[in-house]
Amino acid sequence: MTLTMEGVLALAPDEASAKAARGLTSPAKWPLLGADDAAVWGECQGSGSKPYQTQVDLSGPAFRCSCPSRKFPCKHGLALLMLRAQDASRFAAAEPPAWVAEWIASRGERAQKKEERDQKAVERATERAAQIADGVDPAQAASALADPDNAFKRESHRWRRIEEASAELQRWLGDQIGRGLGALDDASIRGWRTMAARMVDAQAPGLGQRIAAAADGWRVGADWPERTLSRLGLLKLACEGLARRETLPEPVQADLRTVCGWPLDQAEVLAAGERVTDRWAVLGVIVEEREGRLNERRVWLHGERSRRRAWLLDHAHGGRGFEGMWLPGIAADLTLAFYPGNAPLRALIADASPTLEPEGAVGTVRLAGSESWQDEWQRVAERVAAHPFAMLHPVVLANATPVAADAGPHLTADGRAVPLLVGDADWWSLMAVAGGHPLAVMGEWDGRALRPLTAWQSGTKGPAWSRSAA
């Protein structure tokens, strides 16, 4: 793993932690610094009499510190990695002290246990898949297998509850259209929220979220009726799908399961998901704060040989950072396991630990030069047709010039334009980088506007611009 300051800063849970960490990068603060192949560690003089013991497992990187901070990673862990990135020679190559060795060993044990668990799940899933392929009824296949944790029974129970809830949702949707959107008032919107809560109770939180989003959009913006109709229309589509779920192809069933907010177990994805080995280049990275201090990270990838797109989705709670240093412009040889679906995009890394290197050659030429805007829209249209519930689409618009128009920031090319969803600071730095000249811009298309994440200049190595951390 190549450590860079930028890479370390990307791990910081927030700007304050990054700043505090920079303040601790003086070697004088660290009476003890050590490292071996697996980890770096150090003792940092804090405000107390006893120094904090800080350690980083480089395979993650994973952090541990004896300080009481609730931030994760804490400033000490970040500072330790920054010191390492700045000057590795300050770290004495040494046998790890007991407090480091024990932790690394316990991490190894945990990883091994998880691997064993995953392995078992993989074996079960493979066996079941084999039996289904032999023509055995899925239900029988599952029950025939030793099903120690009653997983299959629980699964069919949950489907039953969701189907009942979906039938109720259908009737409710009919009532709303019967009464008309014009008749909506505060009381009826409260009713929508109750309905959303019922979906959560029925173990279909995904449907609940979509109802809540429709309630939030009531009377927001001039086109709220159209947007509400679109949301309710997709809910209707989901209900129709759920009602005939068993007759639908498996990938579509998987999409419906995702729409209900019932994700597949990662082990199952790793076991049964489609695997694609390629050189995957990071197109863009975005970290967004969701409700309740939950941070969501989306990493968009592009397979250089397969020309496939993929996204990695992670969540972290309450100021914890994310594992793995994903920065736009780096690429890695990886095997991804895709979640099943009719237009698979979300994936997991099937390899143990990827080695990421800065990718010099990811430029506009290989990335987007060959694809016109029309090709990109075609990709989006095909994906929507296969999976109408998809909400975000990775799009790379080549030859795009940022323009500050009266109607707000836009990307333009050849008499066409796309509105942008971008913060002020990011917008002006994008303008500065472009200077009225075209760029290749990667962003997330939400059906109305593009949220730009990364931009490349033709003929230069690496991205010329990327969205600043949230």
Partner: protein, 541 residues
Amino acid sequence: MSAWKPLLPVAMVGTDRQSGPLPEWPGEVGALVAQVGQVTSPGQAAPGTQAAPPASIVEGPAGQVLRTMAVIATCDAAGTQDRIWTAPPTEPAAVDRLAVVPERLDGIEGVAGSPRTLLRWALTEAPTRLQQLAFVALAEANLRLPEMLLPLALDAGRRAVALRAPLLPVLGERGLWLARQREDWHYAAGAAGDAPGETPWTDGTLEQRRAFLARERAADPAAGRRRLEASLPELSAKERADLVAQLAVGLGIDDEALLDRLRADRSREVRDVALDLLLRLPDAAHPRRAVERLSPMLRRERALLRQHWVIDAPEAASADWVSDQIVIARSSTEKLGERAWWLCQLVRQVPLGWWTTTTGMTPVELLAWAIKTDWADAVMRGWFDVLSATREIDWCEAFLETQTPLQTHQAAQALQWLPQVRRERHWLRHLQQGALPLSALVAAASGGEMLGAELSQAMTGQLLSRARAGTLKDDYAVRAMLVDFGAVVHADSLSAYASLADIRAADETAAHAEQLQAVAQTAALRRALLALSPDPTPRTS
């Protein structure tokens, strides 16, 4: 979202009240809508039994609208793309001739981060003085700011007017282009700031008019004087005083006539400015009359074998004094007696040069003589008043070096009138004698010009010894100015300055740790700028 338009009326009113045939859509979307309306809903017909009625019958009008919505939502999402753009394309930025600040500086000791990262830090967190220094250094190196930093730099210039002039040369074509794209960056767009023509004079603020007049005086003193003279009737007293003071630029005997008239201005402030300027014209009539008045008061006497100078005060006021702005009546709070007052008034209208040529004494000798005379207070006060207008260096030095009964604020003033190099000698002496608190010296030295090597070394040394003794962290006044000091410390002392950041106390606060980090960043930025400079030998001011 025009695909929704046909459906909006019924969706808003509700199918309960408006049930009728659904609108139709053209093309494949319409075909799909029609097809979906005919599809059998699951659960309405058991497998194997006869075909169930179409969903449109079973679910009623609301269900039919919902199905249509599901189709339109999907088709709309699949079909929404870019839109037509008819606005004329904007002119792209011209190609930059200047090279951009490099990404890396390899092999430069003490520069850990990239110069761009350091500049970003300076633009977001450093004081204006350091930003200014960075802009000037980049301009000297013929470099421009990297594109990503342009918005930060333009914002910094928007907030601090002092930054605008040094910022302009490092913006490059890209920065100038960017400034044109946003209203509050127009100050850098090229047109407003350095427009030729008389706009700054006719429409500008007082600051702009002052700068304009100073420029014109430097280029063509007579033209500047004529412009000022023509405008005098319409100026307020404050503006008159302010702008008349600009005659100091390119002052010459040709200005005498105007100054002589201004001696009689309605405003006391303007009169004082005119008199001060006349003191710098020893050949003008007014100072010559003043010399004629004073000469009889000074005579040489012989006592025993030695000759010595004696000063006397006038016995009575003369009628012609008033027309030369000599105030005969002293105020009730005046400490000088009447004759001393008159003498002081006469002295303050005579250029200091007359004293040295007449007596053959140096300013130091004159001060030593004056202290022993009977009229010491009157003479020295008069001299100091003249000095405030003319600021002769040797007289400033004489006042600072002689044990005169000067007030502290007068000493500070005399120090301020000295050029930087001379001033630093006094600062150095204060530092060595411990006469002033370190914070006062750091405050005085920071924010101005680059400090000399000797003073920088001495001040950094003191800071270091305090840091080692652990007292620096408790000296809040000094602590807060460390970065400002870093912006003016001499290049030779940068290493010592940077080592401040390595002296850490166990019980330091987070705020102090941050300040020390800022010290390290400042030192790194200074080193990076020196490395970028075309002439890497440190500049001595």
